[in-house]
């Protein structure tokens, strides 16, 4: 047996980033967070310092006060939360049922229906806005939070993800429940849904961040303070017609995205883990 000479280079451990990686990661992170840093700067300083950086700039909360008073943000906030959670809840409910049917039933036309469902993955509601507005107004749902959410209630993305996850649920678990006398819906409730929790979480992240940011459709459909979500309220500051007032825009932006940001900070571990266990990987 030949003793191998020490030819291999001392490889740096594959789990450590190394100084080059650390440097790269930090440079990128700084670049990525610059807009937020700038927002913090502009929002906490008077308008004349919005575009000039100086250590002597005084701190102020006036921009927040002004932004807060420019629109009924607490109400918008409430609307957005109702909208986002409402859409999510209904999506999860409807899509669970549909995904279950696709995952564990054999029925005529299942492939056709599945393809038809997938169509929605690529058809964006933005294009179909006029038609959908007509539908909504004929239902008398214009200017309601319910109406804003309606076109999004069925999500092909959710159905697709859940179907994938449901398909990975071990057959034995289902049979075990069956042996115990559980009905089809009981099996869904007690076996499939709890096991798909990571997928639900991952989809929730996608859905919430999408609808928290959605703009054009809510703008067209909402008329009153009672139905207007945050993004549309934010638009008061973003309209470039009168020139941009960065101080107020950034203050409003910070105010409105803080909940999602803080949420992510707190739950980042869980999110990553749930993505990990979800079908999307």
């Amino acid at each position: 047996m030949t003793a191998r000479a020490y030819t291999a280079k001392p490889a740096s451990s594959l789990t450590e980033a190394g100084w080059l990686g650390t440097l790269g990661a930090w440079v990128l992170a700084i670049a990525w967070i610059l807009p937020l840093l700038y927002a913090l700067w502009a929002a906490f300083h008077p308008a004349e310092y919005a575009t000039t950086f100086s250590w002597s700039a005084p701190l102020t909360l006036d921009n927040f006060v002004a932004a807060w008073h420019a629109a009924p943000f607490p109400r918008y906030f409430l609307n957005t939360i109702i909208l986002v959670t409402g859409i999510l809840a209904i999506q999860l409910f409807l899509c669970t049922l549909a995904a279950y049917a696709f995952a564990r039933y054999e029925f005529a036309g299942s492939n056709v229906l599945f393809s038809l469902m997938l169509v929605q993955l690529m058809v964006m509601p933005e294009i179909l806005i006029v038609r959908n507005y007509q539908t909504l107004s004929s239902l008398g749902l214009v200017d309601t939070l319910f109406g804003i959410g309606l076109p999004y209630f069925a999500s092909a993305f959710a159905i697709f993800l859940l179907r994938q996850t449901f398909k990975t649920v071990p057959k034995e678990l289902v049979e075990a429940a069956q042996m115990e006398g559980a009905s089809t819906l009981q099996i869904l409730r007690h076996v499939y849904i709890p096991l798909a929790k990571p997928t639900y979480l991952a989809f929730s992240l996608v859905s919430v961040s999408h609808h928290w940011n959605n703009f054009l459709w809510p703008l067209v459909v909402s008329n009153s303070v009672e139905s207007r979500p945050l993004t549309v309220g934010l638009q008061v500051f973003s309209s470039a017609d009168q020139g941009i007032d960065w101080s107020i825009i950034t203050a409003a932006t910070l105010m409105t995205s803080a909940p999602l940001l803080i949420g992510f900070l707190i739950f980042q571990k869980q999110f990553v883990q749930s993505f990990m266990r979800a079908g999307i990987k």
């Binding site: 420019a70 006029v130 507005y133 007509q134 008061v236």
Partner: protein, 403 residues
């Protein structure tokens, strides 16, 4: 009680939604049979999208503030009714006559008045007095004509040792509404861009090409204007930063600049060439055709109420827009405001020289043709001549259907 829904945009800084909500509340108190419901609808563009989408779904608002240039589009979509339908009494006839005539230009077609002026503007010139002083110019005199604009601009343009520009002499924005600011140049050069029927444009008129050449020359020949396309949105900030000594923009920005500029500034009419000139701008009040009769009537009453001199005066003070009738300028409030702050009446003073804002059938498409041409010339992609010839051809193609 009749509910009158009313869409309005926010185009300028300040708590516009609060003010409008306040108006509605006040009006509703005075008119218990009506309930005006103001709906803030975003920018001008978003408001017209919202209004027309609702119209197409047969659920339009009773009234809306939309760009005066949308009139042809609104007529072509069969979305609005003329005010003449509602004007019955002598008092109402007088009300219609009391507006500044320049503000009625875009709203009157085929001898009918389709839109009543509400938040109206002209392009004005802001100048940085401190920069003027630095450049050895009289801080209290703005350039009066194109030559002065160039010569003062050259003095005002400041370069550092390596030739980088620290301050531009003049800046005219060319994004957002390039055609609107260009109408300053073209009007001053004696050109009118469109006929009043909205069926013919004169983009390839020699005077128009010359005007464009002048704008291009400001940056390419005289080097006193930033190259390329200048952002509408950052122009006021550029001015307040001292990066441009002179800017052209809407008078609607007055309040904003007044609040935030860290130096003394002046406001003047645009300079003249063969004549003085500026387009009017801003939004008119429209009444929607598919709204029920009672709502239309309510909207009409609200329009009258909104444009009363006292209210128009207050609106002007709050936003910087031009009050819509001479009578407003006779009110105590506006008089003392103007005495205190003379720039507030510059836009009004410019009205005698003002022309209609470019507006035709299929307006946005024709406007886009011109905008693309302007930007092509300003970025050096085409000569002004070529750019305007192409724009004219495109406009002719679009407008053929309406002749």
């Amino acid at each position: 009680q009749t509910e009158v829904s009313f869409y309005f945009p926010v185009a300028v800084g300040g708590p516009v939604t609060k003010i409008i909500d306040g108006y509605a509340a006040e009006f509703n108190k005075e008119n218990p049979d009506l309930k005006v419901v103001p709906v803030y609808a975003g920018s001008y563009q978003e408001t017209v999208v919202k209004a027309l989408t609702a119209h197409k779904a047969n659920k339009p608002p009773a009234a809306a503030i939309l760009l005066s240039t949308d009139t042809f589009t609104l007529i072509d979509e069969d979305a609005i009714v003329p005010f003449d339908n509602f004007v019955k009494t002598d008092e109402e006839r007088k009300w219609m006559k009391d507006f500044f005539p320049a503000f009625l230009l875009n709203g009157q077609i085929d001898n009918k008045t389709w839109g009543i002026p509400f938040q109206r503007s002209t392009v004005v010139m802001y100048w940085n007095k401190q920069a003027f002083k630095e450049a050895g110019l009289d801080p209290n005199t703005a350039p009066q004509n194109w030559e002065q604009l160039v010569s003062m601009g050259q003095k005002l343009t400041k370069r550092d040792a390596s030739g980088n520009v620290e301050r531009w002499g003049i800046q005219v924005p060319s994004s957002g509404f390039p055609y609107w600011l260009f109408q300053g140049f073209s009007t001053q050069n004696g050109a009118i861009l469109a006929n009043s029927e909205g069926t013919q444009v004169a983009f390839d008129d020699l005077k128009v090409i010359e005007a464009l050449q002048f704008w291009v020359d400001l940056s390419q020949k005289y080097k006193i204007h930033p190259p390329g396309v200048v952002q509408w949105g950052t122009t006021p900030a550029d001015f307040m930063q001292g990066k441009s000594a002179i800017i052209w923009t809407t008078t609607g920005n007055l309040t904003n600049i007044r609040k935030n500029a860290p130096f003394e500034f002046g406001v003047a009419m645009l300079p003249e060439n063969v004549r003085r000139g500026s387009p009017t701008g801003g939004g008119n009040f429209f009444i929607f055709k598919k709204a029920p009769e009672a709502e239309q009537q309510g909207a009409f009453r609200f329009a009258k109420w909104l444009t009363q001199p006292e209210r128009a005066a207050q609106w002007s003070i709050d936003t910087g827009y031009v009050a819509v009738s001479p009578a407003a300028y006779e009110t105590q409030a506006l008089k003392s405001y103007a005495a205190d702050f003379p720039p507030a009446v510059v836009a009004r003073d410019q009205l005698p020289f003002a022309v209609a804002e470019l507006s035709t059938h299929d307006n946005q498409r024709v406007t886009k043709a011109l905008n693309d041409g302007l930007q092509a010339a300003l970025t050096g992609a085409k000569t002004p001549q070529q750019a305007m010839k192409d724009a004219q051809a495109e406009a002719n193609r679009i407008l053929r259907a309406y002749r």
